[in-house]
């Protein structure tokens, strides 16, 4: 409500961030893993008898790598910034003001890795072998540090640790509980991606005998050990997750309303299964190196993209309903304000800066509340559709449910007066051609409440609670 809400039909702002982000993660993690790969490969090439052939293959690796990572990596990275500004300016503002010099330092890394990569590639053939090794190593170290820095900010969002609004200790926030497991997992993912990319480039080598076998064995060493270690690191990461997320994933192997698994569970299994499939496919490549085609190697890379999709969606969904855990809800509500009953129950539109004049209890009133409080995460009939979720609602049911929705664990508490609640409920059911007005809902609810106060007060009335 401090900022206007970006309304993307069908997808929703959050999904735009997600799509750009999962593409970026694949490329950026490849960029760093590829750096390590190049560094070690340069050493390895030095020791081999056909070092020249290997270095020719590395040159080709670097060319594809450079184009892919500089174009798509850099632009999608900026794309994440653009999309998070739009999808959640409040949270972005918090992160920027808290971590501006972390980001500035990360930028120095970007400048460094870009320049070093250009020097490495464009100096090829003329630079001394030792210079190439230095440049490749420098590239990896610099690029890895950029991950180190962004990892702090990213994990901070889910597990802020000792940081709080009253004690904004940047070190506590940066080195939060999730920092190390995430750092190690991401580093291993990078090695895996570097290895897979190596297999893709290996398939472009015309010679299809001993040389290709040697390269594929080299690449497989980057994938197989890492793929085996990651599940153990995931267990470590698991221990840092908020209780809410753990409950959902554990309870989520069976369905919830609508006959679907909780989304977080589905993406969790996608990540795990994809990891297993990558392991199997690279083992196959090792058993029959001459059999892998470029299409097949790209297929393995695609599995990695799916795995990243699973992992990143899982990580993001673990944070629901917060965008900064225990601090800021995704719809702009600050946790510190939820303790103040008067604040929560006062008129929402009077608190919102970005609102348009409405007639109280009209459908427009409800729509405005919907836009400002709900559109940050929900679309009407697209991703996380509100229409689907309210298909069976009556006006009164919605009115009651909105006051207790935070008990589900994945929703923020409702901000607003009874009138706001009634207006929103009326608006939501209007999508299903139900014509109960907000006034009717309010009157009926008030009648229920007076009935209850007249009846025996000892037991709280059951029909004033949430959905059963």
């Amino acid at each position: 409500m401090n900022y206007p809400v970006w309304d993307v039909p069908f997808l929703g702002g959050g999904l735009v961030v997600a799509i750009i982000a999962i593409i970026h993660i694949l490329i950026s993690h490849l960029a760093i893993g590829g750096g390590a790969f190049l560094f070690v490969a340069e050493f390895w090439a030095k020791k081999q008898s056909n070092g020249n052939l290997i270095r020719e293959w590395l040159h080709r690796y670097t060319k594809y790598f450079l184009i892919y990572t500089t174009i798509f990596g850099a632009i999608t990275g900026v794309g994440i910034w653009f999309s998070i500004q739009l999808a959640n300016p409040e949270a972005t503002s918090l992160l920027i003001h808290q971590f501006v010099f972390v980001w500035a330092t990360e930028w120095v890394m970007f400048l460094g890795e870009l320049t070093v990569l250009y020097l490495y590639f464009y100096g090829w053939g003329k630079n001394s072998q030792n210079m190439q090794i230095l440049l490749a190593g420098a590239y990896f170290v610099i690029a890895w540090f950029s991950l180190f820095l962004i990892n702090g900010i990213l994990t901070f969002m889910l597990t802020p640790g000792g940081w709080s609004l009253t004690d904004t200790d940047i070190a506590a926030g940066f080195f939060n509980p999730g920092f190390l497991p995430s750092l190690f997992i991401r580093t291993l993912v990078m090695f895996i991606l570097g290895g897979i990319f190596g297999i893709i480039v290996a398939t472009r080598v015309k010679e299809n005998g001993e040389f290709r076998k040697k390269i594929i064995y080299f690449c497989a060493k980057w994938v197989i050990p890492a793929a085996i270690i990651i599940p153990f690191l995931l267990l470590w990461f698991w221990t840092t997750l908020p209780d809410n997320a753990v409950t959902l994933v554990k309870g989520g192997t069976v369905g919830v309303a609508g006959g679907k698994l909780e989304a977080i569970t589905r993406y969790f299994w996608l990540a795990i299964i994809s990891g297993g499939l990558i392991l199997i496919s690279v083992i196959v490549a090792v058993i029959r190196p001459q059999a892998i085609s470029t299409g097949g190697a790209i297929a393995i890379f695609l599995i990695a993209q799916f795995g990243i999709m699973g992992g990143e969606f899982f990580r993001e969904m673990s944070r629901k309903p917060f965008v900064i855990y225990d601090t800021l809800y995704s719809n702009g509500l600050w946790k510190k304000n939820t303790a103040d009953e008067n604040y929560m129950k006062s008129s929402y539109l009077e608190k919102a800066r970005w609102d348009t004049p409405v007639e109280p209890l009209s459908l427009h009133h409800g729509e405005t509340i919907f836009r400002l409080q709900c559109v940050g995460c929900h679309t009407r009939d697209g991703y996380r559709s509100i229409n689907t979720r309210t298909a069976d609602w009556s006006g009164e049911f919605g009115y009651r449910w909105l006051s207790t929705m935070h008990e589900t664990g994945v929703m923020p508490p409702f901000q607003g007066s009874d009138e706001d609640r009634a207006a929103l409920s009326a608006y939501l059911i209007s999508a299903h051609d139900k014509t109960t007005t907000a006034r009717e809902i309010l009157d009926s609810a008030r009648k229920e409440e007076t009935k209850d106060t007249l009846s025996v007060p000892a037991v709280p009335a059951e029909n004033n609670g949430g959905a059963k």
């Binding site: 401090n2 309304d7 174009i71 300016p89 400048l111 904004t168």
Partner: protein, 387 residues
């Protein structure tokens, strides 16, 4: 119109619609953030100017029959992908600092722009791909390369256009309510802003200056390597191209003046206006003078001073613009009133990393440059031998 604008801007700070500044405040005093922002924005603008100027020259060279011009085209064709990558990389810190300093304005205008703002991303992707396509496939697939470059150039200009829309809207909070009512979910450009096109032109005015100086650097290198005639020609061309910037700048400045005369009068009424004007004019003069002097000489000091001159000129414009912006936002907007929650530790880490990083980059660049130079020389030898 203009006087109404200035008074309502002052009142605008009292507007409820402007979000409160971020409660976390700043990690260091505002002037440090501003200084960093000015410096890095200037670098970003120079990279942008190189790319735009280089694209136009490349395009022109594709239609020229003279082999000299073709060479110049090839020079830019090879450099433009790097130009774009440095535009993006150098654009990161200014974007960071504008969010720190003007976040409440910038985010609001960005969301109002909505899908127009996010369009920058796919547009940049396409333009970038186009430049690389040209660089690596210009010899094997020569057909329609001009179309690829033209398209990439137009796409980059579109990005600039979107940026001008966003930043001017950010500074016009009195317009937000109306636009929000019409587009509550975002998705509008900054309609009714009179300076958009002239301001865009002003940003672009340095394009030929920077591209021209690049040719002068190139010429100096050629002379050093023994190609006197080739080098001289490059420098002469470079200087001629440099001069084109001057009338463009004048037209752009006049355009800004006529669309917002009050902005110019505000500018001239500022405390440091004489200093900034002085720096700007002196820099521009030095830039032009040393570009002229560089012709025919092998010494790098001439193009260096000329480059610093362009840097100084652009920097002074950047600072001017920001000081006018702060003045226009009125008495309610006071950077020094924002609380500072000191993060000296992180700031020092940044400064040290920056210094060490730059030192390392300069060191490696100097070490690798002979290899790159040798490659260039070999290629030139082949090409001149073929003639």
């Amino acid at each position: 119109m203009s006087s109404i604008v200035i008074t309502s801007l002052s009142a605008a700070i009292g507007l409820d619609i402007i979000p409160a500044p971020d409660p976390l405040g700043y990690p260091v005093p505002a002037w440090i953030l501003q200084a960093l922002s000015y410096f890095t924005l200037t670098l970003h603008l120079l990279a942008m100017n190189f790319t735009i100027g280089g694209s136009v020259i490349l395009l022109w060279s594709m239609f020229s029959k003279k082999p000299d011009n073709k060479d110049i085209g090839r020079f830019f064709g090879a450099g433009l992908p790097l130009g774009v990558s440095y535009i993006v990389t150098l654009g990161i810190p200014p974007l960071l600092f504008v969010q720190v300093l003007y976040g409440q304005f910038f985010y609001s205008s960005s969301v109002l722009l909505g899908s127009f703002w996010i369009q920058v991303i796919p547009v940049l992707l396409l333009a970038y791909t186009g430049y690389y396509y040209h660089k690596f496939l210009r010899d094997t697939r020569p057909r329609l390369q001009w179309l690829v470059i033209l398209a990439s150039l137009i796409l980059l200009l579109y990005v600039g256009y979107i940026y001008v829309n966003n930043l001017t809207l950010a500074m016009s909070p009195e317009k937000w309510s109306g636009l929000y009512k019409a587009y509550p979910g975002g998705g509008t450009l900054h309609h009714g802003e009179p300076t958009i096109h002239s301001r865009l032109l002003l940003f672009l005015s340095g394009a030929f200056a920077v591209a021209g100086i690049a040719l002068i650097w190139r010429g100096a290198k050629f002379i050093k390597w023994g190609w006197q005639e080739l080098g001289r020609k490059s420098q002469q061309k470079g200087f001629k191209i440099f001069l084109i910037s001057i009338p463009i700048w004048i037209i752009a400045a006049i355009g800004v003046y006529f669309s917002r005369p009050d902005e110019i009068s505000t500018m001239l009424s500022l405390d440091n206006s004489k200093l900034l004007l002085g720096i700007g004019i002196v820099s521009a003069v030095f830039a032009t003078l040393f570009a002229f002097l560089a012709v025919g000489k092998r010494g790098l000091i001439f193009p260096l001073i000329s480059s610093l001159g362009v840097f100084g000129a652009v920097l002074s414009m950047v600072i001017f613009r920001d000081t006018v912006r702060i003045k226009e936002l009125g008495p309610g907007f006071d950077l020094s009133a924002i609380p500072v929650n000191y993060q000296w530790g992180m700031f020092i880490i940044f400064v040290v990393t920056l210094v060490v990083g730059l030192a390392f980059l300069i060191f490696t660049f100097v070490k690798v440059f002979p290899a790159l130079a040798e490659k260039s020389r070999e290629r030139l030898n082949k090409e001149t031998a073929a003639v």
